[in-house]
Amino acid sequence: MIELHVVLILMIICAIVAMEIKDLLSSVIALGAVGIGLTVEFLLLRAPDLAITQLVVEILSVIILIRATVGVKVPQENIKMRLGYFIFALVFVAVFLFFSKRAVAQLPSFGDPMMKIGSLYNSLALSKAGAANIVSSVILDFRAYDTLGEATVLFTAVIGVLTVLRASGRKK
């Protein structure tokens, strides 16, 4: 599991770089590095379905971000680090770490899920759905309601973007 942690630390470093760097294009590239790290994590955890989807969506979002941000001047704001803010951030991080440590300790161990329905899906997938890829049979047969909701969300997102950015609305 050591490689999992190495990639995780690299992802955290890239995220900090993406936030702190001044250049917008470099920030987008660092964000892409975080996404590629997440793809490698999914591959290490043996979830190739998720890895493929994460990789292509990451490429798409990086292309859109680069196309939308290149050549755009963003006014730089220098936020002064005051002592009060610093102490507040420190207290917040301490409280968050304390409670997350207690919450993580309650989780079941890796590969031993709390819900037993996953093993039921594993045993029934081939006979009930007939698909060799169990992930596909879960998202499109056993839990197709979720996929219907996801399709609705995407449809709403497309309509919303096209409505906000439509050409006929900004004639004047």
Binding site: L60, I64, G130, T147
Partner: protein
Amino acid sequence: MKEKEQGMSLIVKRITRITVSLIFLFGVYIMLHGHLTPGGGFAGGVIIALSFIHVVLAFGKKESLKMLNDNVVSFFESLGGLLFLGIALSGLIGGYFFLNVLPKGKPFDLFSSGTIILSNIAIFLKVGVGLFAIFIALAILRVPRDDKEEVK
């Protein structure tokens, strides 16, 4: 001053002609084998959206948006959504919503697993065209910063 040429250089255009059909074919492959190998309708749809984006980036918006304009996009987006809903409603023949009513076939065959392959095709159409529409709206039809830049 001469009129600015749309798109990127000749080398990029030449390579794009070769690669874009391969990317499209790979997306269709990922989608059609979604019930056998990792992948599925969503990943395949994003890959074909990337192939359309590839054409737009290489050739410029004027050349490429002749084929894929708003009407085509909205037609395929709606077709994908209605197809998926129709598959869901077809389960009512056998008893309940989203029931797999078609014959299952032999496992590991291309045409097996009943409605799952049809759902993959529906989601493929929907995701591919929908994400391409978002790309056009966000990256190409953006609000001009000065009055000289043309609005599509």
